[in-house]
Symmetry: C2
Subunit: 330 residues, 2 copies
């Protein structure tokens, strides 16, 4: 019995191209004492993966070594086990890599309930959910009545941030890159405003949508939306910098806005990445699971099929062409 | 009996010029019930005054209205009083304006001890001291063993921040704009390193002076030093944005660095201004007075003479030509 893996064999220059990956086929391993084998059913494709491919040693998590399986989180079922905590038939989630089967000792692997669809888990409870929850509650510390602006608002993280903020009683302004995404934010998710940053009069639209200014800013993109939002910040505003997807592939990233407003308005800008807070996953997972069960969080998944679709699928994220959480069904 | 005041009669374009002020002469007023008259002995000239002159309504404190006495803090003696809390002979400090005499009801005016020299009070306990103390302890939250970089390190705020950080066991790297200032920081104040940002190899010098990177950054200037320091920040670094004196008079202020490092290094950048924290002045004043008495804080004052020298004196701050806390002796 054999299975396939995708290995990273070169660093991306700017865009992610097929030739930096290699698909290999090998025998399914047998677990030693304490180990078990997972058959993956779904992989998650996330913007953070671009950072994991690059040799930048300052990043928050070491890059994938060349010749190793590309890092990715996924869901699967235990099919052979010599580990009592993960018996055959268990459903598990974790950073098992771009692979059809994984051998693991259970470190960093979590058991997950069988009743939820894989799309719901990867879209709400996995990385997007814990990132949204942490960024909103621990970094931005929202209060009812405030106005929040969210970039990549139709993305897996932004759409959850906006829904949680709306449920708390904030005025929610989403920024996205297409009319279709904006419609979805307003019609399906109940955002107060959804603006297309590609519109020539985006800054004007933003001013009209935020008559009382912006108190909180959840930043996922950088690029064209950043300065207009920054200019609308109110005194004592808070900014969570979660992602800058428009900047990762630029040869020279855009400069940020002048720091003058940071003083004038006594702003706080805070960057965060989830590996610093992975110890809180069980706690966050429980709260998010509850919200999901109560129907408080809608999501949409963009599912592509087959392990071989994963590398090119990643580019959908950087082009903004995905509509919903990007998932590979194996 | 008459006295002189300086009124703001026009907004500055870029530089502060003499023709935006007017010196007027009037009768010394008589206090009504609850009021008292102060004869000013010293005025403080501070970078914040540039902001008070500009019509920018977003600032943290409203601009001075045209035709009104220019706002300034000062020290003086009560010479006539119908207020029991401030008897004749008391020494007081507060925002009494660019004036030789002031009539006040005591709001925002604090009694100060008579035994300390006016230079010590204005240099250490007044705005520079409370700003340094708040920025270092409340915003940067220093820990022994960390490395701190400070811009305008020879200025009234920066020099106190560096001394307090040194006393706490931090490695202190000061950045200033002349060799003389750098010598003073090293020889007199005991900074570990003092670098001149005008040196062509400043970034290289900074790298060599900070082999373990920079954990805390107390920003007073903006300009050329900002990006090299920002690039040296360590993971979880904290930045207090207190002033941007190199930017205030630029037609188009410099952009800030790309936000990519804010994520990669999970930085926190926080702007602050003291009017938000004026309720803590008594507490901070006591601690700073204690440090001063114990000889833990050195200062140098740059004293100019006569009310009429105040407007042109302000430009010394923006040219970086003052050596020490700028004070007008009346």
């Amino acid at each position: 019995m054999t299975y396939r893996q995708i290995k990273l064999i070169a660093r991306p220059e700017k865009e992610i191209t097929a030739d930096i990956f290699e698909i290999t086929t090998q025998e399914i391993p047998t677990p030693s004492e304490g180990e078990f084998v997972v058959k993956l059913s779904h992989l998650s494709l996330d913007p953070a993966m671009r950072g994991w491919m690059s040799p930048d040693t300052e990043s928050y998590i070491p890059p994938v070594e060349l010749g190793h399986v590309m890092r990715a989180s996924g869901i699967g079922e235990v099919v052979e086990s010599k580990n009592e905590s993960f018996p055959v038939g268990s459903r598990v989630m974790g950073l098992m890599g771009m692979t059809e089967y994984a051998l693991t000792d259970g470190k960093g692997i979590n058991l997950i309930p069988k009743e939820l669809p894989a799309e719901a888990i990867l879209s709400v409870i996995a990385l997007p959910g814990i990132t949204s929850y942490h960024g909103l509650f621990e970094v931005l510390k929202p209060e009812a009545g405030q106005t929040i602006a969210i970039t990549a608002a139709a993305g897996s993280v932004g759409s959850l941030v906006g829904q949680m903020a709306k449920n708390l009683g904030l005025t929610v302004v989403g920024v996205a890159g297409s009319e279709e995404k904006c419609q979805w934010l307003k019609d399906e998710l109940g955002f107060d405003h959804a603006l297309n940053y590609k519109d020539a009069d985006f800054a004007e639209q933003l001013t009209q949508a935020t008559p009382k200014g912006i108190d909180l800013y959840f930043e996922n993109t950088g690029g064209a939306a950043q300065t207009p939002i920054f200019e609308r910040m109110n005194a004592h505003g808070r900014i969570a910098v979660c992602g800058l997807i428009a900047e990762y592939q630029k040869e020279v990233p855009d400069l940020g806005p002048s720091w003058l407003n940071i003083i004038k308005k006594r702003l706080t800008i805070q960057g965060f990445t989830m590996p610093d807070h992975f110890h809180r996953i069980p706690e966050y997972g429980q709260v998010l699971g509850g919200m999901l069960m109560k129907g408080e969080l809608k999501y949409r998944a963009h599912v592509i099929k087959g392990l071989e679709s994963a590398p090119s699928g990643l580019n959908l994220l950087f082009d903004g062409k995905n509509t919903g959480k990007l998932i590979v069904e194996l």
